[in-house]
């Protein structure tokens, strides 16, 4: 599993900044990240001032609807946006290196080696014309140009075995279409981990899979994290997945963070009406099976014309409680009581406690 000298010595010592909860240095630090796309219809503010940190061995779940900016954030970290049409500001620090503004070529060298990505749909994310093994070998040899063909093959077969693919040596020579959905995602994971990266971003890794396979893949990710001690960002819209594997949760809406805290805090004592909405729209196995779910009314906002003030206000049941504030003033992310728990909402802490107990606590999985 060792990397060649050049890879490990290329990483400078990280500055020791105390991290709030784990007490470990964050491997990834994103602060005030803003991603904008110039389109013919106007400027899309896909990510608008998001900050978070992920330490080695920890998992951050980023949750939100489509268009909330979660995938854009992860692609920005990997530097996969088209530089010509995208403006990225803020800070992205990976292992102590500032990536925003770094030349493409240098970010490329980090991609796949120090940070890698597991994509949503492995059938479309793997090249249909190349064997699975060849694609993994390619990922390995890009960053280990001196590795021989046989060594690279051995490494790929080992990885396939490691992610639980039976008969890895035989599967190596098969094409993606000859794999089942779960096996394909395992192969994708093997490819993402072949260079032993310190940061893994999994973008909806289980969305394309059926539920039983989902659980296996999540277990596998957790096992591999324990083994390689990597920092993981898990992007999902599935709160069940988050509760299963994440340590921390970042809830995004309209390109901004609306709530941030530990899994326990965000899922057990959620503070933002949007998080409430997400929770009460998930069916629960406990309680009354006939009880209605409470979907969030309306649609995600346009990122070109974000609603004024709190972007969630047109869909929020409680927007009128503070006069005109929700409409006119963008709420800042502020401490929400428990240490490390942040929320961006104009409701007072007392109001939030009261409303949650009255309206939300008995609906869906929120119970």
């Amino acid at each position: 599993m060792g990397k060649p000298e050049s890879a490990s010595s290329g990483k400078p010592d990280r500055p020791s900044v105390p991290e709030q909860r784990s007490g470990e240095d964050p491997y990834l630090r994103v602060s005030d990240l803003r991603v904008r796309f110039d389109t013919e219809d106007g400027v899309v503010r896909a990510v608008d001032g998001v900050s978070f940190e992920v330490a080695r061995g920890r998992t951050l779940g980023i949750v939100g609807e489509s268009g909330s900016g979660k995938s854009v954030t992860s692609l920005a970290i990997l530097g996969l946006h088209n530089a010509k049409r995208t403006s990225i500001t803020g800070e992205i620090s990976v292992g102590g290196r500032q990536l925003v503004g770094l030349p493409d070529e240098e970010v490329r060298r980090l991609r796949g080696r120090d940070m890698s990505m597991i994509f949503q749909d492995p059938l479309s994310a793997l090249h249909p014309y190349y064997t699975v093994g060849r694609q993994i070998v390619e990922a390995y040899r890009v960053h280990h140009p001196k590795a021989g063909k046989r060594a690279a093959r051995q490494r790929a077969v080992d990885m396939l075995g490691r992610v639980g693919i039976p008969q890895p040596a035989r599967r190596f020579d098969q094409y993606p279409h000859e794999f089942s959905g779960g096996m394909r995602q395992r192969a994708m994971i093997a490819m993402a981990l072949v260079n032993d990266p310190d940061l893994v971003i999994a973008d909806e890794p289980t969305t394309a899979l059926d539920v039983t396979v989902q659980a296996q893949i999540l277990d596998l990710l957790a096992d591999l994290q324990a083994e390689f001690n990597s920092a993981i960002i898990l992007i999902t819209h599935d709160l069940g997945v988050v509760s299963q594997v994440a340590d921390e949760v970042l809830v995004m809406y309209g390109g901004r963070a609306v709530e941030h805290g530990s899994v326990e805090q965000v899922l057990r004592r959620p503070q933002h009406p949007y998080t409430w909405g997400l929770l009460s729209s998930v069916p629960s196995l406990h309680g009354d099976a006939d009880a209605d779910l409470m979907p969030i009314p309306g649609n995600p906002p346009s990122l070109i014309n974000l609603p004024s003030g709190c972007a969630f206000h047109p869909r929020c049941r409680y927007a009128g409680r503070n006069g005109d504030r929700s409409r006119s003033e963008v709420p800042e992310l502020r401490p929400a009581g428990a240490p490390g728990h942040l929320v961006a909402c104009h409701l007072s802490a007392d109001d939030r406690t009261l409303l949650y107990a009255e309206d939300i606590a008995h609906v869906g999985v929120a119970r």
């Binding site: 490329r108 890698s116 990505m117 890009v142 960053h143 094409y175």
Partner: protein
């Protein structure tokens, strides 16, 4: 893979069989009477009947078809009126040209091949190359110029471009001879000089179409997830585009190129007419005009053969490029 191959070959053979039957029936469906061609002067009913028997036209149609196919595969005796012994592949005897059809084709086929094949190499190289570059530099000046030019050329007609080129290079600048066919094996330089205008004309028009097609294909491929995956692995752009994207983008182009080349080999009438070169296309058109039935039939058969073979080559290439196809 072997099963796939066998299936394709069987399919090709059955298509050719069907085409041969249909084109044979054409012989009888067309309003021209082959016998009148045989005895142009002082024909009477008795002589007509004799010729008819001589040609075997009084035999049952199945028997006639069998004779015709036998001629193609092993040769046959056509009788003294039609030049006697006709060796395989015997395509019959043309009364109009007073020549065995096989001999006619032996003369005009190399001409068409000489026009189409080099032109195809040119148009594929220029078209696909230009399309790919323009896709990778989308929105650049080069891309916009290329879009404008290709749209213009794709809308132009062969005989117009051909005539303009003739006017410039042959009649005004006089740096090229009047287009004509010289055998490649006799004099390669004259071969090229005589045909280069035809190549360039075909290449200009076709490469415009191929550039537009390749550009669209490449753009579509670049937005595929697996291209993003390749970049996420940290592969250099050159490899991402040159390997992962190109291979996928080229697949549909192979199909269309195969069909276009196959069709073009079956006759490039307009090109041949524009440049006054006697190839397969002009031979076919003249045969139709003169009611030269054996030649028409042979042309249909040969054109079908080219299309079927081109299709088969495309299928094989496809299976080679895309592993998912090999399952079929």
């Amino acid at each position: 893979m072997v099963r796939f191959l066998l299936k394709r070959v069987m399919l090709a053979i059955s298509v050719l069989f069907a085409v041969s039957v249909v084109s044979f029936l054409l012989f009888f469906a067309l309003p021209a009477d082959p016998v009148t061609g045989m005895c142009p002067k002082n024909c009477n009913a008795e002589r007509l009947e004799r010729v008819r028997t001589e040609l075997g036209l009084n035999e049952p149609k199945v028997q006639q078809y069998a004779d015709y196919m036998k001629g193609i595969f092993v040769g046959r005796d056509l009788g003294s009126a039609q030049g006697g012994e006709c060796a395989a592949p015997c395509l019959g005897y043309s009364y109009v040209n007073s020549e065995a059809v096989t001999d006619t084709f032996a003369r005009v086929l190399p001409v068409t091949l000489s026009i189409v094949l080099p032109a195809a190499v040119l148009w594929l190289a220029i078209g696909v190359g230009l399309g790919m570059i323009s896709a990778l530099r989308r929105g650049s000046l080069l891309d916009r110029i290329s879009i404008g030019l290709t749209l213009t050329f794709a809308s132009l007609q062969l005989y117009f471009v051909g005539a303009v080129l003739l006017l410039i290079f042959v009649y005004t600048l006089k740096i090229l001879p009047t287009p004509r066919y010289t055998s490649l094996f006799e004099d390669p330089v004259e071969w090229a000089r005589g045909l280069v205008l035809a190549w360039v004309t075909l290449a200009l028009l076709f490469s415009a179409i191929y550039a537009r097609l390749s550009r669209a294909q490449m753009l579509e491929t670049l937005s595929e997830d697996y291209v993003r995956t390749a970049r996420a692995k940290g592969m250099p752009k050159r490899q991402v585009y040159g390997k992962h994207a190109l291979r996928a983008a080229i697949t549909p182009i192979v199909t269309i190129a195969g069909l276009d080349v196959g069709t073009a080999l079956g006759g490039t009438v307009i090109t041949e007419t524009t440049f006054g070169i006697q190839g397969l296309g002009r031979t076919a058109v003249e045969a139709v005009r003169q009611g030269d039935l054996p030649t028409i039939m042979a042309t249909v058969l040969i054109a079908a053969l080219f299309v079927v073979v081109a299709n088969m080559v495309v299928d094989l290439l496809y299976a080679f490029i895309d592993p998912r196809v090999r399952l079929g």
